[in-house]
């Protein structure tokens, strides 16, 4: 089933036992972030958190860790909450085959209930803002969908973008935004700034759970996120025009913030504890002037804690990073079986593939580096055989233990591109990259002494079912 807004998803999480209401009074700092920091440590069935009794606020409602477990991710996609990870990725791939599904324009969005305009705009009066990590430069918004258009081709709906970027609150109507050069909004801003113009944006918070997933999916520049949302939901994504900019925004959002990225302006921003588990340094970044806020009555502030993995962000950008890489690799290499790019947004990528001939696995690994996402992320690629499950790390370690000989299986390529946040780069944005071939050599590559591999007994699969049934009725 498809959720049209955050509130209906929170209700569903509660029915499934996946929402924890914290009713005790808590401090805005450090309690809210510390609780969300801790929640994923409860494991793959960790719940979302909901707070409505925060010191000093009269009307705060805060939802965190909404996508922060495999159980919650499954429910966001309308799957049973115990769906295994590999199965969730396979279902994601299957539904992407229905892309594109055009969005549905819907009247009377709930966020039209209240507005603030111009000088009366004060984001602090709408959202119970708070700090996440000790060294953060301020209060951030980091789970909002930012909508913008290609200023040189504004009618092209594919080149329109919906993305999640880090946003620092710098004043009642002033925000900062980070457009990493590999991301679509950076291309929009680049075009606007070349022309000496501002870039209009609409920032929508508290979205239905699939909007957050598609907004953090590394789609191609001319692919429309709402059309992927429709495919994943199995129903068109409901959208409505934002009142000031006309940009298409999710109908079900809690809050819609509109304004412009002021062209050719930069100002100190950060640091911010990032998805890499490290702080980015303070940098000079673009500034947003807010001109209008529209919001539901008693809006829910959905926020995301991120830090040393795994945290909510790692669940949010796990399946949706694996799938585009799988699709792009199999276009040329149908031998590819599965792609696991869920470690730190694909800074490490594990691919399982059949071999066409000796040396083939290395070509698959090199192709990962030149996919659009690989250009900015993949720094280490591990290639394993077709019978190794890349989502099963003990199996991957077995492949590394027995198939990989550093004399011929490590390919190091100097000075490739990587996003500037990658901490291991000698200079920000440039790093060496590594492909590890942990596949069994095949002719004409005659290395090692493999003989015959031990395989699962043919009867083992039936016994697994039988043992599960017996265990369930203990």
């Amino acid at each position: 089933m498809a959720y049209d807004d955050l509130r209906s998803f929170l209700d569903a999480l509660e029915r499934e036992g996946q929402l924890l209401r914290v009713t005790d009074e808590v401090m805005p700092e450090p309690d809210l972030a510390a609780a969300a920091n801790a929640a994923p440590r409860l494991g793959d069935t960790a719940p979302a958190l909901y707070f409505d009794n925060v010191t000093g606020f009269t009307d705060a409602r805060v939802a965190m860790n909404v996508h922060g477990s495999w159980a919650n991710h499954a429910l966001a996609l309308g799957l049973p909450k115990d769906t295994p990870v590999k199965r969730q990725v396979e279902e994601f791939i299957r539904r992407w085959n229905d892309f594109p599904v055009a969005p549905e324009w819907r009247e009377d969005p709930p966020w039209a209930e209240n507005t603030m305009d111009g000088d009366e705009v004060d984001i602090f009066r709408v959202l119970p803002l708070f700090r996440l990590n000790d060294g953060d430069g301020g209060f951030y918004i980091d789970k909002a969908a930012v909508v913008s258009k290609d200023p040189e081709d504004p009618e092209h709906s594919g080149k329109q973008n919906v993305g999640i970027y880090r946003i620092e609150v710098k004043g009642g109507r002033k925000l900062a935004l980070q457009p990493v050069p590999m991301h679509d909004i950076a291309q929009h801003l680049h075009k606007a700034e070349r022309a000496g113009e501002d870039l209009p944006v609409a920032i929508t918070l508290g979205n239905d759970p699939v909007i957050s997933i598609v907004a953090s999916t590394p789609m191609k520049y001319d692919e429309n996120e709402y059309e992927l949302a429709g495919a994943l939901r199995g129903a068109p994504a409901p959208v409505a025009p934002a009142p000031l900019t006309g940009l298409p925004v999710p109908w079900g959002a809690e809050v819609v913030i509109e304004g412009v990225i002021e062209g050719r302006k930069r100002e100190i921003e950060g640091p911010f504890g990032e998805f890499t588990g490290h702080y980015s340094g303070g940098r000079s970044m673009p500034v947003i002037r807010v001109d209008k806020i529209s919001y539901r009555t008693r809006p829910v502030f959905e926020h995301l804690y991120l830090g040393m993995p795994w945290t909510e962000v790692d669940y949010l950008i796990a399946a949706n990073t694996c799938v585009p890489l799988y699709r792009q690799l199999t276009e040329e290499f149908p031998e590819v079986r599965a792609v696991n790019a869920m470690y730190t947004h694909g800074l490490v990528v594990i691919v399982s593939t059949a071999k066409r001939y000796g040396g083939f696995a290395k070509a698959v690994g090199l192709r990962v580096l030149t996919t659009p996402h690989g250009l900015g992320y993949a720094t280490t690629v591990i290639v394993v055989d077709e019978d190794v499950d890349p989502f099963d790390l003990p199996q991957v370690m077995w492949a590394l233990s027995t198939k990989m000989n550093p004399s011929g299986d490590l390919i190091r390529i100097p000075n490739l591109s990587v996003l500037e946040l990658a901490p291991q780069a000698q200079h920000p944005g440039i790093t060496d990259k590594l492909v590890i071939d942990a596949t069994t050599p095949v002719a004409p590559d005659h290395r090692g002494n493999y003989g015959n591999q031990v395989r699962d007994l043919p009867e083992a699969a039936a016994w697994l079912d039988r043992l599960r049934r017996l265990a369930a009725h203990r």
Partner: protein, 88 residues
């Protein structure tokens, strides 16, 4: 404003991060008198007066997060501002 800042009654409030003396008030708690949100006018660091000392007091602020005026002036531009497209 320093007399309203918990745990900081004797010294004048400066930015915990860059020690700049000019501090602005961005917001006050909806429940009166509980906390304020302050902001440094030099480095734009923003904090709530009810946060732990490690985030609000210059003396307790970790050295690793401190910024100088030079750090702010020399911060790299991300992304770089492109040249203007020439109007032919």
């Amino acid at each position: 404003m320093s007399e309203k800042t918990p745990g900081n009654t004797s010294e004048k409030t400066v930015c915990p991060r860059c020690a700049h003396p000019a501090i602005a008030r961005l917001f006050t708690s909806p429940v009166p008198g509980v906390w304020d949100v302050l902001q440094c006018e030099q480095c734009l660091y923003c904090w709530r007066t009810s946060e732990p000392a490690r985030r609000t007091s210059r003396a307790a602020y970790p050295d690793g997060f401190k910024l100088t005026a030079e750090d702010i002036r020399d911060a790299p531009e991300v992304p770089a501002v492109p040249p203007l497209r020439d109007a032919r």
